[in-house]
């Protein structure tokens, strides 16, 4: 369960309100799409959820733990993939994965099993021995994604997950996300690709100028909007002002 209560964050001493009074609850087994135009507050919200930013006000609770009060308990339960796959370039892919597994205290057998499976799925089984410096953007994204999946987190939070992934990896990723939800886990992701959100998400939240302006399933959103067509037209209508 993810709970955001009255979450707010401003920059420049309150001059720029990035996120304002955000309330959101996401239950287990759900794929949640977080949409919004550039600068709407998506990444700020995500950074507050994973403990990279301190909220000005409000609360983030994941699986009942407050990120401000019990950061380690929350971090143990989440996997986070940022929008930019920046990783230690001077480590090999395997060293990075081993480091992440050490940090999440993943037992040797479990990490080996997960690594073998994920590396094969994402076709990284040879490249994993090379320095990350030699990876393409997509390969870096894959290694970050694999690193976040090895501890098998209950909540996966992903910022722009499909940018840079090739069609095959993108397909594998979607399949894996769906199977995670079937296991009762949560996938929370922000995206600009509305078709993906439309086909893939159980529920969608649209944020604009730091405020949540729409929330619900596609059908519920269609009911709210005047032009009841695609998610794209709903999105454009809601974020027009």
């Amino acid at each position: 369960m993810i709970e955001l209560k009255n979450l707010s964050k401003s920059y420049n001493r309150g001059q720029i309100q990035a996120v304002s009074d955000l309330d959101l609850a996401i239950k287990g087994g759900e794929i949640f799409g977080f949409l919004g135009p550039n600068g709407a507050g998506k990444t700020t919200t995500i950074k507050m959820m994973v403990g990279l930013l301190k909220p000005d006000a409000g609360q983030v609770k994941i699986k009942g733990f407050d990120i401000q009060k019990n950061p380690l308990e929350v971090k143990k339960r989440i996997g986070y993939v940022p929008d930019q796959p920046d990783v230690y370039e001077k480590l090999t892919g395997l060293e990075y994965l081993d480091f992440m597994a050490d940090a999440y205290a993943v037992p040797l057998e479990q990490r080996l099993e997960k690594m073998e499976k994920l590396l094969e799925k994402f076709q990284m089984e040879n490249a994993v021995f090379d320095l990350i410096q030699s990876y393409s953007h997509g390969m870096r994204q894959k290694i970050v994604l694999i690193g976040s999946l090895i501890p098998d987190p209950e909540v996966l939070i992903i910022d722009e997950p499909l940018t840079g992934l090739d069609p095959k990896s993108s397909h594998i990723f979607k399949e894996m996300m769906r199977s995670r939800c079937e296991e009762g886990k949560i996938v929370f992701f922000s995206t600009h690709i509305l078709e993906v959100a439309e086909k893939f998400c159980d529920r969608v939240g649209i944020i604009n100028k730091g405020r949540l302006i729409a929330l619900g399933t596609l059908q519920e959103l269609q009911k709210q909007a005047q032009r009841k067509e695609s998610l794209e037209s709903i999105f454009l209508e809601l974020t027009a002002s």
Binding site: K54, Q68, L72, Y80, D86, K90, M100, A103
Partner: protein, 557 residues
């Protein structure tokens, strides 16, 4: 070479290197980072002010003693040689980093700029950094001499020109050496290793050259020294042999006739400009061959089955963090040079000339004069000193840059993370052990037991110093660097940690010597020093543990 393009690149490089735009933005937005940064700068200035004051006093006294002897110009020559040597050694790392490891190079290569224009832009940014580096050493010599001889308008005018030109020649030599080294090594598969070896070789060559030109003629040392004493220009000519431009600088400021001065200034400026021209020509031919593909690395092919099982290891998070730190330090050439190789280069640079009897000093006779117990304590102090000047921990948080995000994200308590970093620093300090053993074999009369005591005490003394260094960087990390070099060299935390660490070591040293003079047995002093260092380490560690959770939570990138 198109001057308008060069000017565009110089401007942007200066803005990026010195963060002018960022400071202006902070000032306009009334961001506290502006006043915070200014405050830190003022605090560091205040911290080094006493040292600077003593330097000024020393210069004034030397100038007063030299007055009327005809040797007044020695001050200028020494200042010029010292400043040029600084540009040489610091420039080597600055240049390699700015020319080949800056983040913006990929974008610049794809833009319609000529190689010489890109390199020129970087060169001038480094040159400006060097003005700041040499200012505290060279400007006082110009001031002291100018005030002593009551130099006229021409003196001050020439002094400004010379200050601006002084770093040019050494920086050109370093730049040409670097682009040549990089273009040759770029052909190799093990280019990182070759480049590190090349950098070490350059330092060794410079040291060797310095030794060759300044050594005294064998068998005729006395006559040689007398010759220097008798001829007013003798000392200057000796120094000048090591670095001829220092003669032109001295003559341009101290010669009797205006014509002579102008001639020497013209010679200095002419050679500097010719050098610049040569660098630009060299850059057009050699810069891109060394740069393009410079970041490429060899990718392995298909791997053998079972390799994954063999390579995957499970470790404690603390050890995993310590190993991550060391691996990255070793694999980034600039970090390796600054944080690890310096441990070897610094003692060699310090003791090599003494060992070879430079300056007429016989090292054995000199050592025999020092109390053996004091020498052992000095050895432990030197161990600790080397460990913290290597700056591995005073830039440890800053070096993470935007990847500090990972440290904030992982479920490892910040106290374990700083502990991991501290362990990495101590592991690096262990590299000093072979240096101490070597020093015992070649120079110092230390027994194996002495070596063990020195190393143990040195390691214990390192704990508070390393913890203090890490604390400074944790309190005020510098993340906005464009290339790895800036994370260390433009990181004021390294300087603060060095000054602070030096003061801590000085304080401990003072107590040790005081106790020794009061007749306390050496074993007691070793024990008390060990306990003192352990306690100081514990205090700094506790402070670190108080600060780390808050900083890891509050830092936003």
């Amino acid at each position: 070479m198109r001057w308008s393009k060069l000017w565009i690149l110089i401007r942007i490089n200066l803005k990026v290197t010195f963060g002018f735009s960022a400071w202006l933005y902070y000032f306009r937005k009334r961001d506290r980072r502006f006043w915070g940064g200014l405050g830190i700068f003022a605090a560091v200035l205040a911290g080094v002010a006493p040292l600077f004051y003593f330097y000024l006093l020393l210069l004034q006294e030397t100038a007063a003693e030299l007055a009327g002897t005809g040797w007044e110009g020695v001050i200028i020559t020494s200042g010029a040689v010292l400043a040029s040597a600084l540009v040489f050694f610091l420039g080597l790392v600055y240049v390699i980093s700015a020319f080949y490891f800056a983040d913006d190079l990929d974008r610049l290569i794809s833009m319609p700029f000529k190689p010489a224009e890109i390199l020129g832009g970087k060169f001038f940014a480094v040159l400006f950094s060097e003005y700041l580096t040499i200012a505290p050493f060279f400007i006082p010599t110009l001031l002291v001499y100018g005030l002593q001889v009551e130099g006229g308008l021409l003196y001050w005018f020439f002094a400004i020109i010379i200050y601006l030109l002084l770093p040019v020649i050494p920086l050109i030599i370093v730049s040409l050496g670097t682009i040549l080294l990089m273009s040759i090594t770029n052909l190799s598969r093990n280019k990182d290793l070759l480049r590190i070896l090349g950098m070490v070789l350059l330092v060794v060559v410079l040291l060797g050259f310095n030794y060759l030109v300044t050594r005294l003629p064998e068998g005729g040392e006395m006559e040689f020294m007398l010759e220097i004493m008798q001829e007013p220009e003798g000392m200057i000519s000796i120094t000048g042999r090591a670095y001829p431009p220092s003669i032109w600088i001295t003559e341009a400021l101290t010669a009797a006739g205006a014509g002579d001065r102008l001639l020497n200034l013209g010679l200095f400026a002419g050679v500097s400009l010719l050098g610049l021209l040569g660098l630009m020509v060299g850059a057009d031919r050699l810069f891109f061959p060394g740069l393009i593909g410079g970041q490429e690395i060899t990718i392995g092919g298909k791997v053998k089955p079972g390799l994954l099982q063999k390579k995957v290891r499970s470790r404690s998070p603390v050890l995993s963090i310590a190993l991550r730190e060391i691996k990255i330090l070793i694999r980034v050439p600039i970090y390796l040079f600054n944080s690890i190789l310096i441990l070897i280069i610094a003692p060699v640079a310090l003791f090599f000339p003494l060992l070879l009897g430079m300056g007429g000093v016989n090292i054995d006779e000199y050592i025999a004069l020092i109390e053996p117990d004091l020498l052992k304590l000095g050895g432990a102090g030197f161990f600790a000193l080397l460990g913290f000047i290597a700056s591995a921990l005073s830039s440890s948080i800053s070096r993470e840059g935007k990847l500090f995000r990972i440290s904030q994200q992982i479920p490892v308590h910040p106290n374990y993370q700083v502990l991991g970093k501290l362990i990495s620093g101590l592991l690096i300090s262990l590299l000093i052990v072979p240096i101490i053993i070597l020093a015992a074999i070649i120079i110092f009369p230390w027994s194996p037991l002495d070596i063990i005591i020195i190393c143990l005490l040195g390691l214990l003394l390192s704990v508070p110093l390393l913890a203090f260094s890490l604390l400074i960087d944790l309190l005020r990390p510098y993340f906005n660097w464009q290339n790895p070099q800036q994370a260390i060299k433009q990181n004021i935390n390294v300087l603060i940690a060095m000054v602070g660490g030096f003061l801590i070591l000085l304080g401990l040293g003072y107590v040790m010597v005081y106790l020794l003079e009061r007749g306390l047995g050496i074993n007691w002093i070793f024990l008390l020093t060990g306990i003192g260092a352990g306690l100081a380490g514990l205090i700094f560690l506790l402070i670190l543990f108080q600060v780390a959770p808050r900083r890891y939570r509050d830092i936003s990138l």
